[in-house]
Amino acid sequence: MNNDYLLQEIKSISDDVQKKILNAKDKSELLDIYNKYIASNGILSQKKNNILKSKSIVDKKTAILKINSFFDEVKKCFEAQKKSIINAELLKENEDISLPAFDLSVKGINPIHLIREKIIDIFFGMGFKIYHSNDIDDEYYNFTLMNIASNHVSRDMENTFYIDQKLLLCTHTSHAQGRAMEETKGKPLKIISPGKCFRKDDDDLTHSHQFMQIEGLMIDKNINLGNLKAILEIFVKKMFGENRKMRLRNSFFPFTEPSIEMDISCDNCCGVGCYKCKNTGYIEVLGAGIVNPKVLEMNGYNSKVYSGLAFGIGIERIAILKYGIDNIRRFYTNDIRFLKDFKG
């Protein structure tokens, strides 16, 4: 038999198969074609085998090469068509990505906790250790060791919650100063102490019988007002941003001398004066000062060798200023819609 004729036949079949493949509409049609022609017992394969077995073929080597090239073409065509059919099918499985996602969002945090962490981070970064003190303490630590006179109005039953004659709910975090100094026994220290405080105020828009403070205390040789100013400035910049100006005012606290109060420029009017800052351009932030030598001596420090600085930060106040919260009640109502806005 003529080589050419045989090869011609295979070529025409393979051309035919390629057409069929390209016309196939889905996977099963394609599979049928495969089984009918390409599979080992398919028509094309049979033809190929026939040629291979045939003894009449003159130049077998060239013939096989030729047949294989036909076969490769068919297979290539088949794979290409298979891919395009699969892709077409996948395309049909179109997903509406606008549907709801799984809720993996971080939930809200009461801003008091957020601010507490933020303040701790700032002072921790400056080397202050966290010192924990109880919310209930002896009046000796809360008042006496803080140089608060025995007839001072804050000691009255009208202003402070008492558990018995001596124990009370701390009215500030300053009692931690006495506790920390007692533990440190006259050595240098630098601590911050967060805590809950209680005063006998009726709860309203600006008052809360419970609130949170962070106390700061640093005692060492040569601690001075310039140190305090530098530390507070870092705090203001980190908490409120580089653009906020700070202002110091004279004040009075029994446990610090000199005592100062720190204001920051009003974010609403940038220091020009508006309703928010009561036309002063500044908003009060915290109280601080140089530790009164009397307090150092009372707590076992030699005031001739050591000096200290101290500050007390109202966390609610910072949160109100930082987030523009309208009143202090929000913090203790814990409305989920309110909490939602505050994330870590």
Partner: protein
């Protein structure tokens, strides 16, 4: 303290310093200004009524008023009784902000009205000055038409500062001292009041006794032949600007002198005394006292009183008695000045809810002992000015602290020390000059060393730091050099506890809201959910504000349930909250974590939601163990003895560690749902984190080898007694199945009617030998052992 700008100006020449500058600077000097009230009103003009016609059937008049060339003639409708042709009136034009209203142009009964004719009361001037309520103010003829600064002309325009004085400066409760202080701070001239010399002509015929340990000073002076009348307008205006009510000239003078000197003064009617004695005591119990204000008070032996002939004549430091008060009929008076214990006055004042100008001053802590003689002299002179025939006696006094007071406090000041406190580089001469501004007596010892002798009124100056503060007030903060402290370095890390709390919080934030609640709760709430502190006696507040907040909580759960219920009312549903907080106990603080879940866990919004359950809480507990690297098998879950119906008796668990309860979780009982008004299914968990943290201390992560062999798994579906827990079955399987059981997991539970008192549980068992892959035959042998052991316990394969 209220301070009138007009009054201050009598003692200081402020020159070009405006009230606004004053406020700004005072703030920095440490005098906090709580508010500023400007009593002046803009858009007021004096006008003359040129015609006035009644509107029929009303009390109103339509008036034409000439307001001068600038404003011309305006038509105004006015209903005042005394409105008539020819009078001069104060007209508030549209835009004028009166204390109670802003004036606008309007139409009344069809007549246009371009403003309002004002009474003094309408202008915010105290009723004291208003003769007839329904009358408008008739301006004196001398004042010209078109005058716009009428309130200033009448002396009613003033600026009132409400100053919050520092606690350590009670001496500034006197306007004289306050003005002197300001004059020093502002470097302005201080015009001191001249203390008049009074000739004492008559004898002080009183006997004075002081049996009270709460009175350190008492002094009296007698003035005869006084004429009691109405005070001059000037005195009335001053008292008014300080928020005080004029009474009569004598009492008003006494109040005026109190404003000047800060020294409260009491006036008795001399002739009302049946015996000429005054005794200060505090041993009257259960006495009725009729005070000047016409109210009766019940006094006890904590109250300091002045008595005479066994009658209480004055509640010392607070208010006098009505019977001995100075009235228009009074001819002769007794002036009394005293100094009393702050605490005693404060307690009495608060108990009786009686805060007077006098008691306010004592409560702030005045020590008037330094000024009393001055005060009596000024007062006597003022009274004598009204009637030259007055006869003044000498001053009779008992002064306990006379000697100790005379000692002046002496403080040595080194320039170097001041600079080291403030971190400044002030030169010696600057500090010396400033000290001379602050203190009346400063001595130069060396170039860099001074001695300050403190004025007796400045009891707040006790050491060099106090002096440094004064220098700071006078020189400001600008020269202070910002400088971070130079200190030794040391390791600064979070404590294990803080670190653990941080880890847990960060983890929980992914699915729970973190809340903050009050420590104080009601007595009822303090007894709920106290499983973890059952034997703990509760802390009660002895002086609560309200019963709602009278106890320290023993559990966070009631507070959290309150938040859930509040949120449900606000239509916030389906959420979980937590709080980590210390609980105060008699053994110190304990750290609790509490979680409350309500409704559904909205995994994918409303498309995929799973109701919260105890197993969610169990998952939280397990995850906390994981975070802390604690083996959760150390804990044992068991039912609690529920006595107060807090938890669902069937759906809860206590978490035990070595037999001690360290936590619990469960669905809330119906009783609690009703109490808190929670309609959704709600689950609570509370853990004593302290106990859990103690386990974490010794846990360290160690590398474990990962086997190369493959595991073989088998499923087992069993019929089990309904009351049996899955753990019990798992334990039997583990025990009987050999050492190669790696894991036994429940994958299905079914309770149907067809099983009666049984339930079906399906387990998946994983066998793994680290050394080699187990063969089927080997595993079949293990399974046979397991099934045999189970059948001995009456557990059989489900058919």
């Amino acid at each position: 303290m209220l301070v009138s700008f007009n009054f201050l100006k009598k003692f200081i020449d402020f020159k070009n310093l405006s009230p606004k500058d004053l406020v700004e600077k005072m703030d920095v000097f440490g005098f906090e200004i709580e508010n500023v009230t400007d009593t002046n009103i803009n858009n007021l003009v004096v006008g003359k009524v040129i015609n006035c016609n009644k509107i029929p059937d009303t009390h109103l008049n339509v008036c034409n008023i000439f307001l001068g060339d600038k404003y011309g003639v305006k038509q105004i409708v006015c209903g005042a009784n005394n409105m008539r042709n020819g009078i001069k009136v104060i007209v508030a034009l549209p835009g004028a902000k009166l204390p109670k209203a802003e004036i606008q142009e309007m139409t009344i009964k069809g007549h246009k009205s371009c403003g309002m004719c004002c009474s003094l009361e309408e202008l915010g001037i105290d009723k004291q000055f208003v003769k007839d309520k329904n009358c408008i103010y008739e301006v004196d003829k001398k004042i010209s038409i078109g005058e716009e600064n009428i309130l200033k002309k009448l002396g009613f325009a003033d600026i009132i500062f409400n100053v919050k004085l520092p606690y350590n400066r009670p001496d500034l409760m006197s306007i004289l001292n306050f003005a002197e202080e300001l004059s020093k701070l502002f470097k302005k001239k201080f015009k001191n009041l001249k203390i008049p010399q009074i000739k004492t002509i008559i004898n002080n015929d009183f006997i004075l006794k002081n049996t009270s340990d709460k009175c350190s000073l008492i002094a009296i002076c007698i003035v005869k032949n006084v004429i009691v009348s109405e005070s001059s307008e000037e005195i009335k205006k001053i008292l008014f600007s300080f928020g005080m009510q004029p009474v009569n000239n004598v009492v008003d003078y006494a109040n005026y002198v109190m404003l000047l000197t800060g020294c409260p003064i009491h006036i008795y009617d001399y002739d009302k005394f049946s015996s000429k004695e005054i005794i200060i005591e505090n041993n009257k119990s259960n006495c009725d006292f009729l005070a000047l204000n016409n109210k009766k008070y019940l006094l006890n032996n904590n109250d300091i009183v002045a008595s005479s002939n066994n009658k209480i004549i004055c509640l010392s430091g607070i208010i006098g008695s009505l019977d001995y008060s100075c009235t228009t009929k009074t001819k002769n008076i007794v002036i009394e000045v005293g100094n009393f214990d702050i605490l005693a006055i404060r307690r009495t004042s608060l108990r009786l809810n009686l805060l007077t100008e006098s008691s306010k001053r004592f409560i702030q802590g005045i020590d008037n002992s330094f000024y009393y003689e001055k005060a009596i002299k000024i007062l006597a002179a003022l009274i004598k000015k009204d009637n030259d025939n007055c006869l003044v006696s000498d001053v009779l006094k008992i002064d306990k602290n006379q000697i100790s007071r005379k000692k002046k406090n002496k403080i040595s000041i080194s320039v170097q020390k001041i600079n080291s406190i403030l971190n400044t580089k002030y030169k010696s001469n600057v500090i010396f000059a400033t000290l001379k501004r602050c203190f009346s007596s400063v001595q130069k010892v060396k170039k860099d060393l001074f001695i300050v002798y403190c004025d007796e009124k400045r009891s707040d100056i006790q050491n060099i730091n106090d002096v440094a503060e004064e220098i700071l007030r006078f020189l400001g903060f600008e020269s202070i050099k910002n400088e971070l402290p130079k200190i030794n370095m040391s390791l600064n890390n979070l404590s294990q506890k803080e670190d653990n709390i941080k880890k847990i919080k960060n983890h929980l934030h992914a699915f729970l809201y973190e809340v903050l609640t009050y420590v104080l709760v009601s007595e009822e709430d303090s007894e709920l959910f106290d499983f973890l502190l059952l034997n703990e006696q509760k802390y009660k507040i002895i002086n609560p504000i309200i019963n709602e907040r009278s106890c320290i909580r023993k559990s966070l759960i009631p507070s959290l349930l309150k938040i859930v219920s509040d949120n449900l009312i606000k239509q916030n549903n389906n959420f979980g909250i937590f709080e980590i907080s210390n609980i105060n106990t008699h053994e110190g603080e304990k750290l609790f974590l509490s979680v409350v879940l309500t409704g559904y866990n909205m995994l994918r919004g409303k498309m995929l939601k799973i109701p919260y359950s105890n197993f969610y809480l169990k998952g939280i507990f397990n995850s906390i163990c994981d975070i802390l690297n604690i083996d959760k098998n150390k804990f044992f879950l068991n039912k609690l003895n529920i006595t107060k119906n807090e938890l669902h008796p069937g759906k809860h668990a206590g978490i035990f560690l070595d037999g001690n309860l360290i936590g619990y979780f469960g669905e809330i009982h119906q009783d609690i749902s009703i109490k808190y008004g929670i309609k959704e299914k709600t689950f609570v968990m509370e853990l004593n984190l302290g106990n859990i943290f103690s386990l974490a201390e010794n846990s360290e992560i160690k590398f474990k080898k990962i086997p190369n062999s493959r595991f073989v798994e088998r499923d087992l579906c069993l019929l089990v007694d309904k009351n049996m827990s899955s753990t019990e079955v798992v334990n039997i399987i583990k025990k009987s199945g050999g050492n190669f059981i790696k894991n036994v997991e429940v994958f299905d539970v079914y309770e149907g009617k067809d099983f009666k008192d049984k339930k079906s549980i399906a387990f998946n068992i994983i066998f793994l030998d680290d050394a080699k892959t187990l063969t089927n035959d080997e595993v079949n042998d293990f399974m046979k052992n397991i099934i045999d052991s189970l059948s001995k316990k009456n557990i059989f394969l489900r058919e």
